[in-house]
């Protein structure tokens, strides 16, 4: 697949082509109608406006230079906030613009009736069911399914990854996306979406963040920030009365400075940038979330339902052993198995051939002339060959027994059943082999558990997430594989209804469930799950039902999606804690500066030994402003996330952002104070 290392392509946050438009947008976002969406920044802007007006009409008693500096820093606080948001949106916007360009130039070669060649049409004229020809160098005009041919396709326009991927007819690599380019060979593609509903269109809407809604957690956090703002408005608003009691007055600009440093401007400025960046990370991870709510829910997941095949085991089973019935010649069994599999091009068939050659030294490489191949069908569940009069059959044990009347009661059949039970218990799938109505033995097809998956599950367990393996295998086989892979639970012989029932049961017990799926019959379960990741190669029904679509169709990514959700919430929490903890130092900067006129003794509260009341106030307001751009990279990249149990995560983040948030401003304000005094600004 395009990327398997699980990392989004690195693109620097601070390139000129992102920063310059963001600066312009930062000013555009000062529009009060936009600003009101962020109440804390709205209050800041209102206060800045008020001070500006007071300065202009000359109602303020402070030295003009000092007052001017305060006002400039207040406006910068607001601008840094709008800049952070603009920068977060910037990457999406640039991406959307290039996606639009791509879309505009899409042309299609629509195939006419059989053999009649093709006609050139605009991509927007294509409808579901049309078949188009895409040749080397062409852009694929619409989302669809390859129905003929193999091609290497560059999907950089969508995924940002330029290494080409193979798309071929049949199997799970058949889906192609509009806007990607065929760089070699040619394919025929059947269109699967109507114009305007393709992946490209959804992606444009998503990355632009045009209809970005605040997520539930973001709303709750905004309420808390508004609450804190109101509380600090009360705390600051009553100070003039107290000062009057003490026989003095406090200039409005200084009260304003205290208010703005106390209200949670830092987190308020970064809140929407964090949300946008979180969605963006997911997009660059090739997962499309249909809503921010789904990303948040991903962080809360308690149970992961994982399909066995492709997620826990590598997709193809391998023959690992021939189990031969007593009295049967070893080589006879190996030869029969090999002959029955030579025409079988599935990986399982090939692995049987390999096993026969390497472990039994059977040299046959070709079927004798005139051999009749019996293909596998879902009805018979048997395949094989007929060489002359000799019939070799290979297939599910029950089917073989059924296909050969009379042998089910033989001692050989009893022995075969015992062997198949053993194989199942060991996590394998048995395949019976019979020649001319005589049972020879069974092929042990082994599921190969992916390397490293066991450790991943242990990691998830430490994070408190339970993994449940979903498989169509019988309970014996499922139990063995479950034990080998280290999942917490399994659902064997799972039907789509079983899956749905399991999700409902977990949810009724208060747990949040994530799953991935691709088939139409997965759709109800995908819709029921709190996080349902549909594979992009999956059916349209599945893609509609899930609340995320994985472009790479890699079910293992479910685990990473959970991590990204957690990272988003952690970033928000960490910066909120940091912002609130900052207040302590700001108080100790401004309170003594403000009140020493009233009671000179209150200078003892000036624990940072700041040079003068003016420099103290200025330093606090400067710190409060510049901490915003300093934290922008963290807000956009997200705080470091390593899977571990909640207690350790809390300890680490509390130490960094809680304790750090308490200490950092003491140091920062002191340094700024030295600079401000050194430069003679106050």
């Amino acid at each position: 697949m395009a990327r398997t290392d699980g990392k989004a392509p690195a693109k620097s946050l601070f390139t000129a082509d992102l920063i310059v438009p963001a600066i312009a947008d930062a000013f555009r976002k000062l529009d009060p109608r936009q600003l009101i969406r962020n109440p804390v920044m709205f209050v800041t802007a209102t206060v800045a406006t008020l001070l500006t007006v007071l300065l202009v009409i000359g109602q303020e008693g402070l030295p003009i230079g000092f007052n001017l500096q305060l006002i400039v820093w207040l406006w910068l606080t607001v601008l840094f906030g709008t800049f952070a948001e603009a920068l977060a949106e910037g990457r999406g916007k640039a991406q959307a613009a290039s996606l639009r360009d791509t879309k505009a130039e899409l042309k299609a070669k629509r195939l006419l009736a059989k053999g009649a060649g093709h006609e050139a049409v605009a991509a927007s004229a294509l409808h579901v069911g049309d078949v188009v020809l895409v040749e080397t160098g062409d852009l694929i005009p619409s989302d669809g399914e390859v129905i003929e041919g193999v091609a290497s396709v560059n999907e950089a326009a969508i995924t940002g990854e330029s290494a080409p991927v193979i798309r071929e007819a049949g199997g799970d690599r058949s889906a192609v996306t509009a806007g990607t380019r065929v760089i070699s060979d040619q394919i025929k593609v059947r269109v699967t979406v109507e114009p305007g509903q393709g992946f490209l269109d959804r992606m444009i809407a998503l990355v632009e963040g045009a209809e970005r809604q605040k997520t539930p957690n973001e709303i709750a956090l905004t309420i808390l920030l508004v609450g804190l703002t109101i509380i600090f408005l009360i705390a600051v608003g009553t100070i003039p009365f107290f000062a009057r009691y003490a026989g003095g007055g406090i200039p409005v600009a200084i009260l304003a400075a205290l208010l703005i440093t106390l209200i949670p401007t830092t987190i308020a400025a970064l809140l929407s940038a964090i949300g946008i960046a979180g969605m963006d990370r997911l997009v660059r991870f090739n997962v499309l979330a249909k809503s921010g709510r789904a990303v948040e829910a991903a962080g809360d997941i308690d149970v992961l339902l994982l399909d066995k095949t492709g997620t826990i085991t590598i997709g193809d089973r391998q023959a690992s052993e021939f189990r031969i019935l007593s009295g049967i010649d070893r080589n006879m069994m190996a030869t029969a198995a090999l002959l029955a599999s030579l025409a079988d091009e599935t990986p399982e068939g090939r692995s049987i051939v390999t096993l026969a050659r390497e472990s039994f030294g059977i040299a046959t490489t070709q079927l004798p002339k005139g051999t009749e191949v019996i293909p596998f069908t879902a009805q018979t569940r048997i395949s094989g060959v007929k060489i002359g009069d000799s019939l070799i059959q290979k297939g599910a044990v029950d089917s073989i027994l059924k296909a050969n009347p009379g042998i089910a009661e033989t001692a050989a059949a009893t022995e075969l059943r015992r062997i198949t039970d053993e194989i199942a218990r060991a996590g394998g799938t048995p395949l019976a082999v019979a020649q001319d109505g005589v049972l020879l033995g069974a092929v042990f097809l082994k599921d190969i558990v992916k390397a490293g998956i066991r450790e991943r599950f242990a990691e998830l367990r430490r994070m408190g997430i339970r993994t449940v393996m979903i498989t169509g295998d019988n309970p014996l086989t499922a139990a063995a594989i479950a034990a080998e892979a280290g999942v917490d639970d399994f659902l064997a012989q799972a039907t789509p209804e079983d899956k749905l029932a399991l999700i409902r049961k977990e949810q009724a017990e208060g747990r949040l469930v994530a799953m991935c799926g691709d088939g139409t019959n997965d759709a109800p379960a995908l819709a029921q799950a709190d996080v349902g990741v549909a594979m992009n190669t999956g059916t349209q029904a599945a893609r509609e039902a899930g609340n995320m679509v994985d472009l790479d169709s890699d079910p293992t990514k479910l685990i990473e999606v959970v991590g990204l959700g957690k990272q988003l919430l952690m970033t928000r929490g960490s910066l909120t804690t940091f912002s609130v903890a900052n207040d302590v130092a700001k108080y100790f900067a401004i309170i003594p500066a403000m009140f020493t006129v009233l009671y000179p003794g209150l200078g003892v509260l000036n624990v940072m030994r700041l040079a003068s009341p003016e420099s103290a106030i200025l330093s606090a307001i400067i710190f409060n402003a510049i901490i915003i751009p300093m934290l922008v990279p963290l807000a956009l990249k997200g705080v470091k996330y390593t899977p571990m149990e909640a207690g350790s995560l809390l300890r680490r983040n509390l130490a960094i952002y809680g304790l750090g948030g308490l200490i950092a401003p003491f140091v920062g304000i002191k340094i700024i104070d030295l600079a401000v005094t050194g430069l003679g600004l106050a």
Partner: protein, 567 residues
Amino acid sequence: MTWQGWTLILLFVGILVALAKPVGLWLFAIYEGQRTPLHAVLGPVERGFYRLAGIDPDEEQSWKRYALHMLTFNLVLLLFTYAILRLQGLLPLNTPGMVGLTPDGAMNTAISFTTNTNWQWYSGEAALSNLSQMLGLTIHNFLSAASGIALAFALFRGFARRQANSLGNFWADVTRVTLYVLLPVCIVYAIVLVASGVPQTFTQQIVATTMEGAQQTIALGPVASQEAIKMLGTNGGGFFNANSAHPFENPSAFVNLIQMLSIFLLGVGLTYCFGKAVGNTRQGWAILSAMLILFLAGTTIVYWQEAASTPMLHAHGLTGGNMEGKEVRFGIAASALFSVVTTAASCGAVNAMHDSFTALGGLIPLLNIQLGEVVIGGVGAGIYGFLLFAILAVFVAGLMVGRTPEYVGKKIEAREVKLAVLAIAILPLCILGGTAIASVTTAGLAGPLNKGPHGFSEILYAFTSAVGNNGSAFGGITSGTPFYNGLLGVCMWLGRFFVIVPMLAIAGSLAAKKYTPATAGSFPTTGGLWVGLLVGIILILGGLTFLPSLALGPIADHVTMTAGKNF
């Protein structure tokens, strides 16, 4: 500071911790409506009350209904007491011939006792008849305490119930708490007090001839019965103006210790009861630990400041600790401890004059109330106030583990945050708003005895005490004026019910939620980290708001005093 002093403080904490579980288990039985040994005697009484009032104790109430019944109940009791206080001159049991209170005075007192504040602008022995004390006020001492515990129960049920739309029955909770908790303890407690020398008589005063031959009128009355519930119900309204500094209310060091313990008894028990209710007693111990850390820190500061005294007193030859305004019988440690206990809980009884404490020694009682009286706190009110902070602490820090915040299995979302902020914001609004008005108006400025920052502290303390429903007085302030009676009355009302209603709404919202089982990925709300976090959040959210006012009050008082300046 002396080793005897520290022994007292540590002994006090040790006894409390030992009592947490047994008291908590008893409260839990009442919370659950379980049958206790007392039911054999009191069961018929309980059922009799229900029959008389036509109440079905098993009828479940939604949070709105619970709140409505609680408010109606309190409002009716308020009017009842208002009437008694106004008409006491015409009513029986009024031997010395007290006249009815003024409208503002009666209103203030009625609100004060209804809200478990027990702010007293008057001297009990000089203004109230025995009927007023016994019927008008003591009834609130029981019922406001019972209401507080009932409300805490309602919130516990919010956390404990799953997808439920009700919080229990207010009438059943109040009746059961009164009958099975408050009454039995108070009866035993009052007898112990009587045995220790506290008066219990209908005689309102006796006249004695002193050694010098002068005539002295000594006030008496049914003191022991009121004293018991005054402490146990964290009411704090003394029979006498001198409150627990009066030898008839608090005759000995032993009684003093019992009084302090009884202030915290139910509050400590409720922390254990909470843990039990949510199915994990460690949750309760975590809360109690956070409370005790704040408590011990406060006690240490007060004791240290009072023992160190001030340079000014030293300059006048008054060496040793600051004994101004303290009973010699109790000394510095027991007075310092009492002051922290009474303000940490919303009791408000005093055995020393907080006004006479050193500036920083007086800051702690003030701060204790400003933090929302969540350090053990008033009966019921302490734990539900604390849980509001816990909700905010979980919300702020809980995100840091990468999950939507949860507390004891309930997700904390927008609605809970909104209501918790609303409930917590009422404190600064009323305390700072009221102080702001009083500190610039003539009527307000007429109140404080002192000038300068100490006078400001007196005003600040009055509003803090009223809003926090504490009721202790810094002393020094003359508050029996229509201005203070009116404004403080409003503050007491807002400080109680504008916290309770959002709190009940939270309980209702929580009860309706699903229960999310805890996993290794859940935010840990037991253990040292959480305790530290709670302490931090309470100090930052609860304390920082008041720093400017504290800077201009006690802290300015301290620094000017250190600089040798008097006002």
